[in-house]
Every structure is written in C-alpha cells, then in structure tokens.
C-alpha cells in the first residue's frame, strides 16, 4: 500500500482549494478598496495566493499521474481507469475518462490562463482575477473529498480515495491491504490519438471562455463599460478557435472510431458544447462591431456573459446525472449535482445582478437601426446564431424542464426526440442557410459602402455555381440546393473581400478566410450527410438472419472467406482475421502466431515474411492488444486491387463488441466500412468444430480439407519448436502440409512430440490451426514400418464476416473548410492580440 502519495495528492487538493479562496478574497478586497496604495498590497497577496494555487494544481496532477503511472491499484482512480498494459501516452487519457480528472484538467488550463493574465493585464488584475479565483475555488471543491462534520455532507469527490473506500467488497473485510493485480483499463474507445488531444483542447476552450467573461464583469464593476472589449476580443477569438477546433476534433474522432457512420450525432453531450460555441460566435461579431462602429455594447455584454453561463449550464447537464435517461453516454453520477447547481446559480445570479444594476449606465447610441447598414446585419446574424442554439438547447434541457415542472406539481414527461439527427437537422439546416446568407451580405457592408450591383452580381454567380453543381451532382432536393446556394454565396462574397484585402492589408483577412471555411463546411456537410449512401446492399436475395431487422438484412453484406462479392462497382473479398503487432504495425494472420501465457504477447510460430522481407523469426515474441481483431478485406476493380481494408473489432469485457471502421479515402468520396458481426465476435459463443476425422497417408499424397486440396509434403524430425521448450530426451517430428487456397498456399505444421523418449514416454500432439480456412490439423501417429502417417483433420464453418459500407461524398470539403476555419480564426486572433497591445 502506498499511502503517502495519495495523502500528498489530497493535501494538494485541499491546498488548491484554500489558496483559491484566499486569492479570491484578497483580489476582491483589492477590487473593493478605493485606496490605491492599499489595493496594491491586496493585489500582491492575491497574486501570491493564485501562484501557490497554480502550483498546488500542478501538484495534484503530478500525484495522480504518479499513481496511474506506477499502477497503484489500491487507488480507485487507477483501478477504474487504467491497467498495466496501458501505454504511457494513453495514461494521460485516464485523466479525462473520470470526472475528477476532467475537473482537474479544466482547473489546470484556467490556472495557466490566469497566470498569463496576471502578467499581461495589471490594470484589470483585481476584479479579473477575483472571478478567476472564485471559479477555481468552485472547481477545486468538486474534487475536495471532504466530509463536513455536522451537516454530514460530502463536499466533492476526491480522485485520491482508496479502492476499499469506494467499493464494498468482502475481500476487504478479510484483507484490508488487498490490492488488485490489474486495473479495469481505459475505455477502448478512448484509446485513440484524437482522444488524447480532443478533451484537452475542449477544456482549454471552456477555460478560455472565462477570460472574456471576467473582463466583462470587471468592466461592469469598474464602470469601464467600453474599455473591456479591447482586451476581451482576442481572448474571445482564442476561445472560439479552440472550442471550435475541439468540437470538430470530437466529430472527427467519432467518424474514425465509432461506427454510427457520421461525425455528429446530436447527443446531449455534443449539444452542450455546440450551443455555447454558437453564442460565442455571436458575441465575437457584436464585439467586432463595437470596436469598429461603437455600437452593440449591450448585446455584447449579454452574449459574452451568456457564453460562460452556458458552459456552466452544460457542465451541470452533463455531470449531474440529470441526463441519465436521455443520453447514450452513461455518466457516472458522483453525487455532485447540488454543488454543480450552486456553482451555476452563483455565477448566473451574480452576473445578472451586476448587469441589472449597471444596465442603464451602459452606453447605447439610441440611434435608429437602418436596414442597409452593417449594424443591422450583424445584429440579425447574432440573433440567428442565438436562435440556432436555442433550438438545440430546448430539447437538450427536457430532463431539466421535467424536474422543474415536477417540483411545481405539474409533471411533464417530455423525452428527447427518438430520431435526434432528423429532428435537429431539419431546422438547423435552415438556420445555417440564414446565417450564411446574412454573413455573406454583411461582408458588402462591412468593408465599403454597399454597392447593390456587386451584391446582385455575387448572388448571380452563387446561383450559377449552385445550378451547375445541382446538375452535375444530382442534388435534386430543394433544401440541399438552397444550402448549396447559401454556401456558395458566403464563399464568393468573402472571396471578393479577400481579393481586396490581399493587396492592401492581408493581416486583416482572417475573418474572410474563416467565412470561406464555413461555406465549404456547409457544402461538405450537405453532401457527406445528405448524400451518404449505404453501398453494402444485400444483393443475394437471401436474408442474413431472420431474427435481425429488415434494415440490417438490407444494408449488410455477408462475406465468406475468399468468396468475392460485388459491391458499389467493386469486387469485395474477405481474406480472414488479423492481429496487429504493436511494435511493427504489421497485420499478422492468426496461424502465424501462437498464444503465450501473457494475453498481450504472442509468439511467431513460423517465419513471418512481408513483401519478401523477413519481419519476425519463428519463436519471436510479438506484443499485441488482445482485444483487437482486424478483418482483412480487399476491394478490386477489373481484377486490379484498389484498396486493402482492415476494419477493427474490439472485444471489451465490460463494453462488448466495439466496431471501428476502416475508411478508404478518395478525392471525391470516402468509403466507410465497418464490421457488423463476425464468426468470432461473440466470445460467449465458441465456434463449433466438427468431429475430427483421421486419414492415413504417405508423403506426397493429396487429400481434401474443408474443400481445399492439401498435400502432405514431408515429415521431419525437428530440434526446436517455436513457443515450446524442448528438453533433453524429447523427440519431435513436424509434418508439413501444403493447403492450396484461392490466393495462396498455406503451410500447416502439426507436431508429434514424444516427451522423455528414453524413459516413461509421453506423447503430445501440437495441432496447427489455419484460422483463415477453418482447418485444424494434427499429426496423430507415425507408422515407420509402412512409411505412413495418420493425419487428424478437424474443420469448422468457413470464416465469415458481416459488413456495412457507406459512401460519404465530398467529405474532404468539410475537412478542408474546417482547416480554413481554424487558420482564419488564428489569423484574426493574432491580429487582435497585436492591436490590443497597442
């Protein structure tokens, strides 16, 4: 038992909470004092508090990582989220699999942002950092793990609790010092490189929304109503960029890893970050408007405050367990709902009160809003973005609405829509159209006096481009054609802007590039989702399974090993199950390796050759991941092989069969293939083997196994067998049997082994199984006098796999747009950071 590190970690947690509170009070004091000389002292002390707090947060993270890295499974966190075989780069992911770790990550980013602000924003430090410190205190309280003595309330859930404190297992009664040999491991879906960087990016985005929020609060508090926008704007752009990139990374991860066939599922968890992001985008635009036209201050205040409050609200939704009946993601409820609610309410009510008390003083122009001005279009765009978010927010909040109506005795039973994708896409598509059109139009007003001729000209070009694409790509659906037009319009109007800026002032072109990216994304989404098409149609005329749904029988293709079928103009053929070697990334055929005692290692049973190179020698130990099986599938056209696919299935003891696609990428479309079922995918159902038969034969004789022609080529004494220890006195003979399959010859090498041939001899048979062909051969007996050999033959049903394949047209346009969006955001951010320093 390693008590010290856990106690140290818990000490750091408590220290981080205490210092956050300390720093909050001192910074607040500094902000409240009118006396400048006094406030300077308070600020210095508050600063020290925040710096110590940041170090404590680093200490918590280091302690927790130490526990995970050293496999201290006496700690609940390590036991639940890690295991001995987890590579170090995935150990980081353990942090965000658990709730406590993700709170930590959030605190970590905020501590770093706080330190940056302390260095750069001396003028605002008091109120700015008191908001920061208060948020940090709330977050630290979530992982505090302290029982309040008299009230019997648990405050927070510590990541440093011991396993025996978390789990009541009888083993702890007899042996309190019991330590499990291995942990539960990391959710296999998180064992993906995108999952190493996606959550930190998202949490950095969360943390970044606090910066403009704090500036706004500070501005309201100091009555510097117009000054806060300048330093807050680049940080808003930073938050918008990071949050946007984080969301899209999540989408890309879903596309690559989950097999639902898309990148966005409108799950409450996704919605919970999408809504604040939309509002943040609205806020960025009104702030930009204020910087250039001195208009839109009040709306900026509302949107900036709302963004952060929505982040808090979504944290409450996803972590309090309230979505339990509404989301496919299962959240473990840590019993923090009360604390989370207090956190949400304190900031909501606090910022509302401050805004109300200052509202009248916030300067507003009071001038009439003209239709043909940039102000009008920016307001209209921001309003549309908010409504767009609102439409998603309402159904996502149904569980909350049901709870609240329940308190008032008028229980509602609203449930999220059964078909989420259809439900949201229906309206979001039109919102996207309106946003794109408004944004495209606003460009003409932003940069110069509106020229109606120019607008008409751009509309015409966009219409022309749409008509061409509609005909070329057969977009015969009005809503998709309209979306296409809106996409083209925003692209062309921004290209015009770019053309002008490029010669005069290229550093200003970030916004236009972002908008072009948005247009490309809309077009990419329209094609890849609207025209996604199942290509693995069951064309055999036979049902795959009577018990499966009609949809399943229609959209899936049953492939037997080495029996080609046609699919989407391809010859598709399944070649067998493969194992991926972790050290060399080579797909191994199952008969090429033998199991070792350790499930994470196999032994090469023969020389493994790829592309005429010897990769592994017989007897080499090869590291593998036992949960993963890959299914080798080839696609060929006109006899020429075009792609080799390896869709993956992970068999996880607690999550079952997890299927990940293999994506064949093309310029115009992706082919997305995943395994729906296979002969071996259910470990509870052992594959059935037929009764063994035996044939007696001479060297060179041909025989049939599972419909394949086989020939006994030789039987030779051997002095070593891969994966076995031959001892002195052991005698072994290995038969070599060549089986002629469709694509290649397989060599089966069963061994006849006499242990201790000199004394009490024992006979052992080492069978050789050719998994691809469903054949297991043994050398049962050697008859030296007749020069004959008994070969045992066991066969099973040939390997099969059921696959589903989809075409995703023009998905690359979506990724291209995503890239431009990110670049544009970063350019705009750099520009604004520079101009805010001046």
């Amino acid at each position: 038992m390693h008590y010290f590190i856990g106690n140290l970690g818990h000490f750091f947690v408590i220290l981080s909470w205490v210092t956050a509170c300390f720093s909050f009070f001192l910074y607040l004091k500094a902000a409240l004092t009118k006396d400048l000389s006094k406030s300077g002292e308070w600020i210095v002390n508050g600063r020290v508090g925040f710096i110590v707090h940041s170090m404590a947060v680093a200490g918590v993270i280091a302690s927790l990582f130490f526990i995970i890295y050293n496999h201290y499974f006496e700690y609940h966190y390590a036991y639940s989220h890690s295991s001995k075989h987890l590579p170090v780069y995935y150990m980081v992911s353990c942090f965000w699999e658990g709730q406590e770790g993700s709170f930590l990550l959030w605190m970590f980013w905020q501590a770093i942002l706080g330190l940056i602000l302390i260095r750069t924003q001396k003028e605002w430090e008091g109120p700015l950092m008191s908001v920061f410190a208060l948020v940090q205190a709330f977050l630290a309280s979530m992982i505090l793990g302290v029982k309040i003595p008299l009230l019997d309330i648990n405050l927070g859930s510590s990541p440093f609790i011991l396993l025996r404190e978390a789990i009541q297992d009888p083993v702890f009664l007899t042996n309190p010092e019991f330590i499990p040999a291995d942990g539960n491991g990391l959710n296999p879906l998180l064992q993906n490189y995108w999952m190493v960087i996606h959550p930190p990016t998202l949490f950095l985005g969360f943390a970044a929304t606090l910066v403009p929020f704090s500036f706004c609060i500070a501005g309201l508090y100091y009555r510097k109503y117009t000054d806060w926008v300048r330093p807050a704007l680049p940080w808003s752009l930073f938050a918008g960029a990071v949050l946007g990139i984080g969301i899209l990374m999540g989408g890309y991860w879903a596309y690559e890893t989950l097999s639902f066939g898309g990148y966005w599922n409108w799950d409450p968890v996704e919605n919970a970050v999408y809504v604040p992001w939309l509002v943040l985008i609205g806020a960025i635009h009104t702030m930009l408007l204020f910087r250039s036209r001195k208009r839109g201050l009040r709306i900026s205040v509302i949107l900036v405050l709302s963004t952060f409050l929505l982040i808090l609200y979504s944290t409450f939704l996803t972590r309090s367990g309230i979505l339990g009946d509404a989301s496919v993601h299962s959240f473990t409820d840590l019993g923090l709902s009360g604390q989370l609610l207090v956190y949400l309410l304190v900031f909501t009510i606090g910022s509302k009160l401050l805004t109300w008390s200052r509202w009248k003083e916030i300067p507003a122009t009071g001038k009439e809003l003209e239709t043909w001005t940039v102000e009008f279009w920016v307001f209209a765009g921001a309003a549309t973005l908010c409504l767009m978010g609102f439409q998603v927010l309402i159904p996502t909040s149904f569980p909350v609405i049901n709870k609240i109506t329940g308190w008032f005795g008028a229980q509602t039973t609203l449930a999220p829509p059964a078909d989420q994708i259809g439900f949201y896409s229906k309206l979001q598509l039109w919102f996207a159209v309106v946003v794109a059109l408004i944004s495209g139009l606003a460009q003409f007003f932003w940069w110069n006096k509106p020229d109606k001729k120019n607008i008409l000209y751009t509309l015409l070009v966009a219409a022309l481009a749409s008509v061409l694409v509609v005909n070329a790509k057969e977009v015969y659906d009005l809503k998709f054609a309209v979306l296409l037009f809106a996409g083209f319009f925003i692209i062309f109007s921004n290209l015009l802007v770019l053309k002008k800026l490029f010669t005069k002032n290229p550093s200003l072109s970030g916004g236009a590039i972002t908008h072009v990216g948005v247009g490309l994304m809309l077009i990419g989404i329209m094609f890849s989702s609207g025209y996604s098409r199942v290509v693995s149609l069951n064309n055999t005329g036979m049902l795959i399974s009577k018990s499966a749904s009609t949809e399943f029988n229609r959209d899936n293709l049953l492939l037997f090993v080495n029996e080609p079928r046609t699919m989407a103009g391809y010859q598709i053929e399944y070649l067998g199950e493969r194992i991926l070697s972790n050290d060399r990334n080579i797909y191994l055929k199952k008969h090429e390796v033998r199991l070792s005692g350790d499930p994470f290692k196999v032994i090469a049973s023969r020389a493994i050759i790829r592309e005429k190179q010897l990769v592994y020698q017989a007897g080499d130990t090869i590291p593998i991941n036992p949960e993963n099986t890959y299914y080798e599938i080839t696609l060929s056209r006109d006899g020429k092989m075009e792609a080799r696919l390896f869709p993956r299935v992970q068999m996880n003891p607690s999550m079952g069969m997890l299927s990940s696609p293999d994506i064949t990428r093309g310029y115009s479309k992706d082919l997305y293939t995943h395994v729906s079922a296979s002969i071996s995918a259910d470990p509870n159902n052992e594959v059935e083997w037929n009764q063994p038969t035996q044939e007696t034969m001479k060297i060179g004789q041909q025989f049939f196994v599972n419909d394949y022609v086989a020939v006994l080529e030789s039987v030779k004494p051997v002095s070593s067998i891969a994966g076995y220890n031959l001892e002195q006195g052991d005698v072994a003979a290995m038969a070599t049997i060549r089986i002629q399959a469709e694509h290649e010859d397989y060599l089966a090498e069963p061994v006849f082994l006499i242990k201790n041939a000199d004394g009490n001899a024992n006979v052992g048979l080492i069978p050789d199984e050719i998994n691809d062909l469903g054949v297991r051969l043994t050398l049962n007996n050697i008859r030296p006098r007749e020069e004959q050999f008994d070969i045992g033959i066991t066969t099973r049903q040939k390997d099969w796999v059921i696959i589903k394949a989809m075409e995703k047209p023009l998905i690359n346009i979506l990724w291209l747009g995503t890239g431009l969006l990110a670049i544009g955001f970063i350019m705009a951010m750099v520009k604004r950071f520079r101009s805010s320093e001046i």
Binding site: Q168, N184, D325, D333, L387
Partner: protein, 135 residues
C-alpha cells in the same frame, strides 16, 4: 416602430415558434399501458419507457431470450407503474445489459410486443458498484 424593436419582435416570434415545434416533435416518457393505447389508435410514434428487468427474488433475470445467431434478443421489462411487457430489440445483447439497474427503451408496439429501436442502459454508479471485476 423602430427597426431594432422589429428585429427583437421577429426573434421572439421565432423563439416561440421553436418552442412550439420542438415540443410538438418531442417524444415522451410513458408507461406500457399508454403506449399500447397509442398503438391501437394507430399512433406509431416512438416513445420512451423507463423500467427495470424482471428478476426473481434472488436477483436472477427472468425472461431473457437470445436468438440463435445472437443478432437479436427479447426480455421482460417492468415499467414504473408495474406493468410487465415482452420487449424485442434487434441488436446483439449489450454486455452491461444484465447489470443495468434501469433501462430506457425507445420504440413502439407491434401487435402485442414492444419493439425497442434503441436501448439506453443506466448502470450502477461509482459508489454502488460493489464488486471487483479483475481479481
């Protein structure tokens, strides 16, 4: 009227429209009785039902049947009103199914059997999970 007021008015009208259309399209949490009545009236909209698996006193799950090829299964669910109903789900059995303490099914009746298109499992939370798996 000022244009800014007009804009605000349009936004409010749109928001109200969204609320109405959203609640109109929403599914709802009901019990088996209501669901059966709905189906008899020809309303095959997918609805949510929350319930628990039928278990004998020793905690063994009763009435779970898997198809021969494991591509579908059926089970008995007792909703929050105590109604018992056979439910079919045309997907392989999720591994955590038997451990779940609460199940949400989304689907509708087909004659006297409930066809669940989607299943959400609510598994015991961190502090209630009393067993060690890898020992």
């Amino acid at each position: 009227m000022k244009k800014s007021h007009l804009l605000a008015l349009i936004a409010i009208a749109a928001a109200v429209g969204i609320i109405i259309s959203t609640t109109g399209d929403a599914s709802s949490y009901v019990d088996f009785q209501t669901a059966s009545v709905m189906a008899k009236e020809g309303n095959l909209k997918s609805i949510h039902i929350v319930g628990e698996l039928k278990k004998d006193p020793s905690g063994q799950v009763l009435g779970l049947e898997k198809s021969a090829d494991n591509l579908s299964f059926s089970f008995l669910l007792i909703d929050e009103q105590g109604n018992e109903q056979k439910v079919i789900h045309q997907e392989p059995l999720p591994p955590d199914f038997l451990r779940s303490e609460k199940i949400v099914i989304i689907g509708h009746y087909v004659s006297d059997i409930f066809l669940a298109e989607k299943i959400l499992l609510k598994c015991p939370s961190k502090y209630q999970d009393n067993t060690l798996k890898n020992t």
